[in-house]
């Protein structure tokens, strides 16, 4: 990440008694693709609206290129937003929709039309310029909204769940388009979404929010491998959380007593002492399944069900003494070779390096 373009400094937002965002701070780099992810009501859209100036923070400050945005009305900012509802003007043609921002900046009509048309052509919409926006398909309207926001050449583009109304196929194509556009233009994208697929496939960094607070900021890989806390782990859903009491703190690993016997967990920067209760998690794609244990940590489990995701399979196993199912992710071919039937008894095993304490892996 290069220098910070946008700084969010201890920003809070209250609506009456309801606090949407609580003392949140993070910064967004020049040319970065940042996704803000969380379930509905987590404050991600409020965050975006504060960036656009549509809401004023109750406390704290937002800075763009070092300048405080406090008190600046939305029309005094240069942070175009792509709306979830797209918010295209129904009474204007496609071309005039795209040119709206230029018109407000006093760009003369010939120049305005030339630049708008260039953007429409870039997004393969040139032939629709004189149509009404209502005559376009969902995907086409999406691109009109994108062109309208980008035609003014902003430094930062804000996107509020822009793909949520599209079907899966179209969404994947739009993700590729967004990512390549962002690379090509070199501008900063701030992308709000509830979809893990969208966030992880496009973003350089992901901010995970819940109840108005940031739970974790990091690259998709870092969040996937090392969730910072129980909330993130459950939200991403690719690990199983276990609990035990510390028996021995070694150089590389920590030995814990769990309901399923002794287990080794990577030490990281674990600071607990002997006898302390500690939560740890096991990455689902680092667990081996078989008749015999293949790694030092192992449990006997009963196979419950499975779910295909692409060419990977997620297995759900029932383990005595654990409330949640043990999740295991295997390549489809490996799963086929196992020939498992629901109810089958298997041994799940993993190395100490696949298990970590929350916040422990720096």
């Amino acid at each position: 990440m290069s220098e910070a373009l946008v700084e969010i400094d201890r920003v809070s937002k209250r609506f009456g008694d309801y606090t949407a965002v609580t003392e949140t701070s993070f910064s967004i780099g020049q040319g970065e693709f940042l996704a803000i992810m969380g379930s509905s009501g987590c404050g991600k859209t409020t965050m975006l609206r504060m960036l656009a100036g549509l809401e004023e923070p109750s406390a704290g400050e937002i800075r763009l290129e070092g300048r405080s945005q406090k008190g600046l009305p939305p029309w005094g900012r240069d942070l175009p937003l792509v709306w979830q509802s797209l918010a295209l003007f129904p009474f204007l043609s496609v071309l005039d929709n795209v040119g709206f921002g230029l018109k407000m900046r006093g760009v003369a009509k010939p120049e305005r039309d030339r630049r708008s048309l260039a953007w429409l052509q870039k997004l393969e919409l040139g032939e629709f310029a004189s149509r009404n926006v209502m005559q376009l398909s969902g995907g086409q309207r999406q691109r009109v909204a994108l062109a309208r926001a980008l035609v003014t050449e902003p430094k930062v583009l804000l996107l509020d769940e822009p793909l949520s109304a599209l079907d899966a196929h179209l969404s994947v194509r739009m993700q590729a388009l967004l990512r390549s556009l962002q690379r090509e233009l070199g501008i900063t994208f701030v992308y709000v979404t509830h979809s893990q697929t969208e966030a992880f496939s496009m973003a350089d960094r992901v901010v995970i929010m819940s109840r108005g607070k940031v739970e974790q900021i990091g690259s998709p890989q870092a969040i996937y491998r090392h969730p910072a806390n129980r909330f993130v782990a459950e939200f991403i859903g690719n690990v199983t959380i276990l609990r035990g009491s510390v028996a021995e703190v070694g150089e590389q690993s920590v030995r814990l007593n769990t309901a399923n016997g002794g287990m080794s967990v990577s030490r990281g920067n674990f600071a607990g002492s002997h006898g302390a209760q500690a939560d740890f998690y096991v990455n689902a794609d680092q667990i081996a399944i078989g008749d015999e244990p293949r790694h030092e940590n192992h449990v006997r489990a009963r196979f419950l069900s499975h779910k295909f995701i692409g060419n990977m399979v997620t297995l759900f196993l029932e383990v005595p003494g654990i409330d949640d199912d043990l999740k295991v992710i295997l390549p489809e071919r490996t799963y086929d070779c196992l020939g498992l039937q629901p109810g089958d008894s298997v041994v799940a095993s993993w190395p100490a390096a696949a298990a970590h304490f929350f916040g422990g892996a720096a």
């Binding site: 656009a52 009305p73 003007f89 129904p90 709206f100 003014t152």
Partner: protein, 280 residues
Amino acid sequence: MSSNTSRRRWPLLLPPLLWQLTFFLLPLLFLFVISFWSVVNFRLEPDMTLKNWDFMLSRSSFWSAYSHTWALALGAAVVTTCCSFPAACSLAFTVSERTRKLALMFLVVPFFTSYLVRVYSWQAFLSDNGIVNALLGLFGLDGLPMLNSDFGSLVGYVTLALPLVTLVQTMGFAQIDRNLIEAAHNLRAGPVRTLFEVIIPLAKPSLVVGALFAFILAFGDFVAPTYLGGGAPPTLSNLIIDTTKSGQQWPRAAVVAIMMILTLVLTSLAAVRLAYGRRK
């Protein structure tokens, strides 16, 4: 299935259909028919003559009344639309839902009193020795002639149409997608530009329909031009009264009435076209 249900439902449509047929379409047809009748010795006689049409339409007094009525109704539409606009805007955008409902309820209150009574009470304000001129006198200003003028008529028309037009406009503004307003702000349109570039185009149907209501109400109104406008120069409604009073000329009055209806039908069609007209 849909044709089946519609067949089962059509008896429900019978009462309004009968009502319209008996009390609107048939009288209208009768109006059209008697415009071809004659008056002999102050009595209507069935006939098939074009002389009533010829008499009225060749007369400059008819056409001056026609243009005067048109101008007044257009003025009423413009003035009422402009007066309603700020009120409707703030009711739709700035006040709470509760206040808006309350305000809309109050907009109905003027209809509790007869329009005639409200127009009469304006006389107390507008007459040469009325309240407005008395107030002007307090500031050492000369009194203005307001009663028995086009201004007086306009005051009456606005009294008649303002609550309805404000209601129509408020409903129209309230339906505007707030996202579009925010999108305009986001694309650097300040409040004034957003008003002209986004809110007015979006509210156009309600603005036009509101203005059309004001136009229709003013065009056919007899009370305001008579009691506040003084009846001179006459409007078409004054002309109808004069024609029927002078020599029982019902057929000629029918000609005027048909011309009025025709005008309103054409104006309404044009207005609807303007409001909902083809978008590119």
